[in-house]
Structures are given as C-alpha cells and as structure tokens.
C-alpha cells in the first residue's frame, strides 16, 4: 500500500496501534519518498525496532532483519558460499570422472543469501523493509562496509558481479551505546526518538493493553513518567511500561499501591543498584506525586 501523505501515514500507523509523533511520521514519509535510509536513535525501549515492523506491515511485505553484533562480517551480513554443498559436488563429479568448472562451482546455486543481499534481490520485485538493528553494536569495520552499500545501494560479489537495488529500503536503528560515525549518519535521514509525553504514553498503554482499567493505566503512566526524572542507570522505556501494565493486569490490580509496586519493580528496573535506590521511600514519594497529579 503506498503512502499518500504524512497524515495518511500517521493514520496507518495508528490503525496498527503504533502511536507516532508527527515528527517521526514526517521522517518516515520522507525516507520513503526520497528513497533514503532512515537512521533512528533513542534510548532502549522507545519503539525504534517497532517502526520497521510497522513499515513492513504497511507495505504488506516481509521484514528483513539484520541484527548487528561485534565481529559481524560480510559473510554473515551479505552472502556466503555453501561450502559443504560445493565440496560434495566436487566429490560427486569426481566419482563420475568429471570435473565441475569454476563458474559452475561459484554460481547462484551455491550462494547463501544473507539479509543485505536478500534485501537487494527482493527490491527488484517489491518494496522491501530492511532493518539493520542496533548498528552501534557492530564494529567500525562493518560500519565502513555499510557505508559503501549506503552510498550506491549495490553489492559486489567477486565471483558473480555487481547486484544493484531498485528501491533502496532501509531503517537503521541505534541505541547509542557508542557514537556511530558521522559519515554513516550523513547518508541517512536522522530522527531521535524521545520518551513520549504523558498523554502519548497513556494513549500507547491504552492501545496496546486495552484490558487495563483506565485508572491503573493512568497511574502506571504517571509513575513511569516520574521515575524517568530519578537518577537511574537505566531509565525504563515504553516497552517496560507496557510489560508492567500487562503484569499488573495479570495480577488483577485495579490501582497502584506501595506493596505491589515494590514487588514488581524488577519488571521496570533492570539494575540492582536502581532497584535499591527506588525501593521503599522513593516508591511512596513517587506514588504521592502520582496521586497529586491524579487529583488535578
């Protein structure tokens, strides 16, 4: 389904329960229209990966995902030869007294496509969404390689030749655990996804966990919003808000009370130091602030 305008995109995302702020929708729309990769940055759990999933749904296409890690190389990201099959083939031909030619041995039949190649091949048929997830986890070598692909959207396999993409399709995400090189970002449209405002987050909670009682949803959202202003090593993201809501609904809670908050803190805080810091007094203090907010 093609996107006609920014409003159109906002609506499509909303239909799929993704509440996007207009700025994000603008960036996605432009990335699509200009055929540029989109570089999304933000803290963990603000919905960066989710954007790619939604885009794939909107285009009614498959999401091709490349999870980055340190040491990720061409053979895991682009292509690899199927060595075992090649070896078997050499032996088989030899048993028959024949010899396989080099061009046959390195033909597409023995080529294993990894995500980047898949995306480029697929782009000849339909719109593709490729997610290069958590680019900050890969190393500089891979970044440099990706730069090459981003500049002309093509891949060269020495034995086969150059394969060019028709429609460059990209979403790149980063958690900012390290600075990604400027040259890479420069080739993309950049958007920083911030934590949502109270209203937006409440809307997200209501949309994603519809069976949560409104009062509970409001309290949870307010609590998390307050928690984000506490000095924490790892601030809870929207993903944590949703997990927590689901957990509390499963526990049949109608509203927040200090005991249940303390028992379930592990769902939203992932460091022992943070849990210790927030436990007891802080929980009560935040709950009081939440109630004051409710009162207004």
């Amino acid at each position: 389904m093609p996107i006609k305008s920014i409003d159109d995109l906002v609506d499509s995302l909303r239909e799929r329960l993704y509440i996007a702020e207009r700025g994000l929708a603008t960036s996605i729309y432009l990335a699509y229209k200009l055929g540029r990769p989109l570089f999304l940055e933000g803290e963990a759990g603000v919905g960066k990966t989710e954007v790619a999933k939604m885009m794939a749904e909107i285009f009614e296409t498959e999401l091709i995902r490349l999870q980055c890690y340190e040491g990720l190389d061409v053979h895991h990201a682009v292509y690899e030869w199927n060595y075992t099959r090649q070896m078997m083939n050499i032996r088989l031909m030899e048993a028959r007294g024949d010899r396989i030619s080099e061009s046959e041995l390195f033909s597409r039949e023995f080529l294993l496509q990894r995500p980047l190649l898949q995306a480029i091949e697929k782009s000849h048929e339909s719109q593709v969404v490729l997610l290069v997830d958590e680019i900050d986890r890969s190393d500089e070598e891979f970044e440099a390689f990706l730069l090459e692909i981003l500049s002309d959207f093509q891949i060269t396999i020495p034995e086969i030749g150059t394969i060019k993409a028709d429609r460059p399709p990209f979403v790149i995400t980063s958690n900012r655990t390290r600075e990604v090189h400027d040259a890479l970002k420069r080739r993309c449209l950049y958007f920083w996804i911030d934590y949502p405002s109270f209203e937006k987050e409440y809307e997200i909670v209501r949309a994603k966990v519809p069976n949560a009682p409104p009062k509970l949803a409001r309290q949870i959202t307010a609590f998390i919003q307050e928690l984000r202003s506490v000095d924490l090593y790892k601030i809870p993201g929207v993903a944590e808000t949703l997990d927590w809501t689901t957990a509390l609904v499963a526990l049949d809670q109608k509203c927040l009370d200090p005991a249940i908050v303390e028992e379930t803190l592990g769902v939203i805080l992932k460091y022992q130091d943070d849990i210790e810091k927030v436990a007891s007094e802080q929980v009560r203090a935040i709950l009081t602030r939440v109630e004051v907010r409710e009162g207004n």
Binding site: T26, S27, E41, Y190
Partner: protein, 396 residues
C-alpha cells in the same frame, strides 16, 4: 504552531532564505553540506511547507544528524523562521553565532615565564665555536635532567622540550581478542580457503586451512582532573592527552573535570595542537575550580559509561585525589567504574614526592578500586607508564 509564510514574491525568496539558513547552521558548527541542501529542497516539495511542524521536522531530519546539535538547531530555527511581526532583527542570529565563538571564559593557566635569558656580551668567534660544543653535551644532560624533573618545576622552555620528548614517546596499549578472524593457525576451520585447495586437488582434502582470532589494541578513556590543586600540571597533561589521542591508532576518549565533567574528545581532533587546546579551553567552564570527583565520575558513569567503555576499555584517571565532594558517592562510582572497564589506572602527580602517602580522603576512598596506582610527575614516569600500558595482559 504558526505557519511559515511565503513571501508574495514566491519561492525565489524562500529558496534564498533556505540557503542562508543552511549557512547559518554551518556557521554554528553543524555538518551541513550542499548535497544535503539539495536533498532538502527535494524533500520540501513533498510536504506542505505551510505546516510549520512538518517544515521543522523535514529540515531537522535532513540537516541534523547528531543528538547534541538538536538544541542549537532548534534555537536557530526559532529565530530564523519566525514571522517578522515587528521588525526583522538579524542581530539575533548574529548573537547566536557570536555566542558560539565567544572568548574563552577562562584561559588555561599560563606558562611560567621563561627565565630572562642571560644577557651575554658580544663574544668573538673562537669563543662561539667553543660554546657550541658545550651546548651539545649540555642538551644531552638536559634531557636526563628533564626526564626526572617534576613537571611542576619546569619553566616554559623546558616544557617545550618535554613536549617534544613526549611526542617521541611511543605508547602502545595492551590488546584484546576481537570477534573477528583472519587466516592463521587457530582452531577454527577456514572453509573458504579449504574449498579452494580442494578444488585445485580434485576433491581431496589435504590440509584444512585454519583461522585465528584477530587482536586489537584496547580503547583508552582518559579522565583528567583540572581543578585548582592540579593547575601546575594541567597544561602539560593536556599536551600528553593530545599526544595520546593523535598517536594511538585506536579510539581515545578524553574527559576533564573539576566541579563538572566535560568531554573534550571532539575538540582534541583538531590537527593543530594549539587550536585544539584553544577549543578545549572554550568548552571547559571550570578550569582550576574545586574538585568534585564523585559527582564527575557519576556523570561519566551515567552519561558516557555505556557508550565509551565497551570493548574492554582501559581507563586512566589523572588526579591528585584532593576531593571536596561526597565520599560515599565517590566510593560508589569508583566501584561501578572499575566493574565496567577492563582496567582502571589512577595516575597521581603527587606520588612522585618521596614523602607523599595517599592520605587525602578522596584518594583513600578511591584507592581500593584502582587496579594500578602510578605516578605521572615527570617524563621518566611517563615512560614507565608507556611500558605498563603495553604489558597489560589479556586478563585482569
């Protein structure tokens, strides 16, 4: 949000303004190039530029690609694209540019003036040639003296020579095993190369080609104290840090602190050392202030730790340990820092003095969490440090 009003004269003016806006941003230090501007013009065709919000996000997503630049962009956008209600004040933008290029609030501690050169009378040529010979030997012994002379006692000339000697100091950091491999004698089979030989030999596996892991030098993170008590060492240490950042071929992250932490990595990138240090003096607002080590380390742990301590980084803290901050906080943050890096090395210029014992409260608190506690008061100690860094083993 109010809309961006187009001039009656149409898009000609608008385009013109857009280009000026691009220049303003570049003037503010944003990475805006003509290619991006062309993209922007294309992009603006796709949206309704009368909707200010869309216009804003379009320009931002194309012209900004660093989180740190967003606030600056916002200010410039606000000033540039507002409706000229009363009177267009171009001065506002100028003031923004000026703010960026303001004079440093504090110029780093000046060098001790060189001792006035001895006024030497006219000498005849025979004496002159004799003197030259003497000077050669003198400069050699000078070097020896300089090696062990405390940094704090150097005069400007000597600092200059020490700087030159520092540049010759080859520092290599210990290595770390990466997740990448290369052809070698490791225990992993290299199918790619094996297949090639198999093909050559018609299907017989004669030798299994192997791979071994690649090793890389560890990233280095330097956190230097520039508070009042360290003032005598500050300038030379900055030179030292600059030298490290430019001679090592792995990422070096540099931070300075006295009451607050400032990252100076970007400033140090400048290839002209004086300009780099000039930039540093502009971003650092607390030269020779008090010392709040705990708070500064906390800032580091919270904001930068996860970003720069990956991949087995070595952390160098350069400080004399005089601390006026919260001791409990210092203990907590040191503990955390040590746990999140490969090796935590504390360099203390006072350690060179034979009577010094690390009794200051801050130093005492921090000591249990350091892996190494070394002096950096003279050139000889820097050479020792270089040796130590190179010998860092693979395990702590």
């Amino acid at each position: 949000m109010e809309s961006v009003s187009l001039d009656e004269n149409g898009s000609g003016y608008f385009l013109h303004n857009l280009i000026i806006f691009g220049r303003v941003l570049r003037g503010l230090g944003l990475d805006v190039n003509p290619g991006r501007m062309i993209d922007l013009v294309q992009a603006l065709d796709l949206i309704d530029i009368n909707r200010r919000e869309d216009f804003y996000h379009t320009t931002r997503s194309l012209l900004v690609h660093r989180l740190a630049d967003i606030p600056l962009f916002d200010q410039a956008f606000e000033l540039f694209w507002r409706k000229p209600v009363e009177r267009w004040e171009a001065l506002d933008l100028l003031s923004l540019v000026k703010k960026k290029q303001a004079e440093p609030l504090f110029i780093p501690p000046p060098l001790r003036q060189p001792e006035p050169a001895q006024v030497e009378g006219e000498r005849d040529s025979s004496e002159l040639s004799e003197r030259t010979v003497i000077e050669v030997t003198k400069s050699y012994s000078d070097r020896e003296v300089l090696r062990v002379k405390d940094f704090a006692e150097l005069n400007a000339e000597e600092i200059e020579s020490v700087r030159r000697l520092m540049q010759q100091l080859a520092i290599r950091l210990g290595v770390r095993r990466t997740r990448r491999v290369r052809p070698g004698n490791g225990h992993r089979i290299d199918l790619r190369r094996t297949l090639r030989t198999i093909y050559k030999h018609g299907g017989e596996v004669l030798v299994w080609a192997r791979r071994e892991p690649k090793y890389k030098p560890r990233p280095l993170v330097i956190i230097a104290d520039i508070s009042g008590s360290m003032e005598r060492y500050t300038r030379l240490l900055l030179h030292f840090i600059y030298g490290l950042a430019h001679s090592l071929n792995q990422p070096v992250e540099a931070f300075v602190f006295s009451t607050r932490l400032t990252r100076i990595t970007r400033q140090l990138k400048n290839r002209v050392i004086d300009r780099a240090l000039g930039d540093v003096s502009q971003v650092v607002l607390d030269w020779a202030g008090g010392t709040r080590t705990g708070e500064s380390l906390k800032d580091f742990n919270f904001i930068w730790g996860r970003r720069v301590l990956g991949r087995g980084a070595v952390v160098l803290i350069i400080s004399d340990g005089w601390d006026r901050g919260d001791v409990d906080l210092l203990r907590r943050e040191m503990d955390r820092l040590q746990r999140s890096c490969y090796r935590l090395i504390w360099l203390n210029p006072l350690l060179g003095s034979p009577v010094y014992e690390p009794l200051t409260r801050g130093m005492q608190t921090a000591l249990p969490f350091t892996d190494d506690f070394l002096p950096v008061h003279n050139l000889a100690s820097l050479e020792d440090l270089a040796g130590h860094l190179a010998s860092l083993s693979r395990r702590r």
